[in-house]
Amino acid sequence: MRKITMAASLAVMMTVMAARANAEEFIVGAQLPLTGTLARVGAGMQEGVMVAADVFNKGNGKHKIKIVTIDDESAPAKAVAAVEKLASEGAIAITGGYGSNNISPASDAANKLALPYITSGGVDDNLVNSGRKNFFRINNTAGYEKAVLGTLADMGAKSVSIIFSTKEATSDLANSVQKALAAKGVKATAHSFDPAITDFKPIVNKIRLQDKSEVILMVGYENDYVGILRAARVLKPPVKALIGVWSLATPKMAAEFPDLMPNVYGTALLPFPATFDTADGKAFAAAYKALYKKEPDYLGQFGYVQSMLLFEAIARAADKGTVKKGGVAEELRKTDRETLIGRVQFGANGDNLNFVHRMAQHQGKNIVIVWPASNATGKMVYPGKPW
């Protein structure tokens, strides 16, 4: 009996030691713009990355993830340098990146170093069509376009004025939407603007006096939206709705610009106040609030999803002993998982096959999901404008 007890104890000890020997800490690089023009979105994504590491490390039990972050200062050359430095510090994969012009060279550098690179910060389709083998992204222009077109179709809009920044991602989306609307017989007039401009009154005045459209679609960033909405508030064009895309239907915008946001639409995955009904969502929200003492936003959500998918792929590859043999990218390719942003599966080019965004509207102090009907948390107020 004594021998059996000793043998059992030895077996348990060996099992524990073997498990410890297999449990590894993996370094994942986060290349993010924490300063420069993209600092805000970079900081938002980093919050999601850190929350994912926190949730993964608490819940996985076996493998641990250590995040090493390098600020790429919103500059392509610095983004490349960041990836190379992260690789030299032992990173086995990269999560992050914001802005297609930064992600493109950075992911090229990662590709040369055979590091998987996953992002939600670049919607330029060249990113997935240029033959990068280890590149993955969870969102794309097509998903934004579906949300915008779906909402406009529900509104029954016959004419749309599109105001868009000449940056690559915004131009791509605006041109794509304009073509799709024209194909449906909707009159779509486009007004491009240089990202440096601050006075949008001359553009809005053209919409007021010439276009006389039913809807204004804004494809830009937060500072552009504020400028356009301000100009619209002054000139009061005869529109029925104002729609934007990213960074607009957010609690932050509602809190910072309460007078400009009422009835404005924007893409959003979550209503506000945020509600999570899945275990994954609840874990994300709890960890986010614990770490950052605020409500989670879409940037954090995207950063969380992309990072969690990567960490899970690392864990699976580690279990198979293939981390250093291209196993992480292999596991990412096999991903088929329901996430906070919907089902994620990567196609041969690394793009998420299933991405469809949702459209929300600022209603009072809340943000209500109004499209698609299957995810709606309320009805759209239409016609509805901020003034």
Partner: protein, 290 residues
């Protein structure tokens, strides 16, 4: 079409006033010391963030931030002078590098203190429409356009009538000769930096009152101010107003008659055209006479 063009001219005029207010401080320092303060945009931005703090923290209209912004920014500007004045060789070139570095440090300090979020006034009063016949603007724009004109008139008066103003012009004209006339060049230059800081204080509060601010915005403000300063003709205060208004109107007309994507290009074309035809800038000749 007439309505469109009239509105473009009006918007351009107001935008020009805003540009002029931003450029005044840079033009003053450039005119007197031949130093291009590449941290000037960050000084304007600092004032804008002070206005944001006063509004969000104390719930006051941003205009109440003017005294604090003017004091803080002029002291910061004096600090910049303190560093620049230590340059012993090739001041024109070395000051460029030095002030660029100061600008980078200031941008990052602003980022650390106020974070990267987009900020703008929430004052309804400043944002409401100010309508003159068929012309529309924000009330804040109209108010600060008038402030801009008053400040320019005050600066012009100060430079032409006060002892320190004339001393500044003397140092600008010939530093050594001014010294022989009993004018202390270092103190005079410090005064020009302090006055430039005060003007940047006003400009920042104005910018926050009708525009949008972000920590990385300082560089763009400096570039715009520099273009106007060169366009104006070195040291010319009326030239700053003329250059700024021309730039604002050219940009607004480009948006109205062509595309807003071409607005920055139109501004640069105007800049190159003026310099090609008038190498000393719009008011360069009058400066030489002065």
């Amino acid at each position: 079409m007439t309505d469109l063009i009239l509105q473009a001219l009006y918007s351009g005029l107001l935008q020009g006033g805003s540009y002029a207010l931003i450029a005044l401080g840079l033009a003053l320092v450039f005119g007197t010391m031949r130093v291009i303060n590449l941290a000037h945009g960050e000084l304007v931005l600092l004032a804008a963030y002070i206005a944001y703090t006063v509004e969000s923290g104390l719930g006051l209209n941003p205009a109440w931030a003017i005294p604090i912004a003017v004091i803080v920014v002029s002291l910061t500007s004096a600090g910049v002078y303190g560093i620049v004045s230590r340059i012993r060789k090739d001041r024109e070139i070395n000051s460029l590098i030095l002030t660029f570095g100061i600008g980078v440090i200031m941008t990052n300090l602003i980022l650390l203190i106020w974070k990267a979020d987009v900020r703008s006034t929430s004052s309804s009063w400043l944002q409401e429409a100010f309508v003159v016949g068929p012309l529309y603007s924000m009330r804040g724009e109209a108010v600060f356009f008038i402030v801009s004109l008053l400040l320019m008139a005050g600066l012009w008066w100060w430079l032409s009538r006060s002892w320190y103003g004339r001393a500044l012009r003397a140092v600008s004209s010939n530093r050594e000769a001014a010294k022989l006339m009993g004018i202390p060049p270092a103190r005079t230059e410090l005064v020009s930096f302090i006055v430039a800081g005060m003007l940047a204080g006003f400009a920042g509060v104005a910018l926050y009152s009708y525009g949008v601010i972000q920590p990385a915005y300082g560089g763009a403000l400096t570039v715009k101010a520099f273009i106007i300063t060169v366009l104006a003709g070195v040291g010319s205060i009326p030239g700053v107003l003329l250059g700024a208004v021309l730039l604002g109107v050219a940009e607004a007309l480009t948006v109205t008659l062509a595309s807003s994507a071409l607005q920055e290009l139109a501004g640069m074309m105007l800049f190159l055209l003026v310099l090609f035809v008038m190498p000393n800038g719009l008011m360069g000749a009058s400066r030489r006479r002065g």
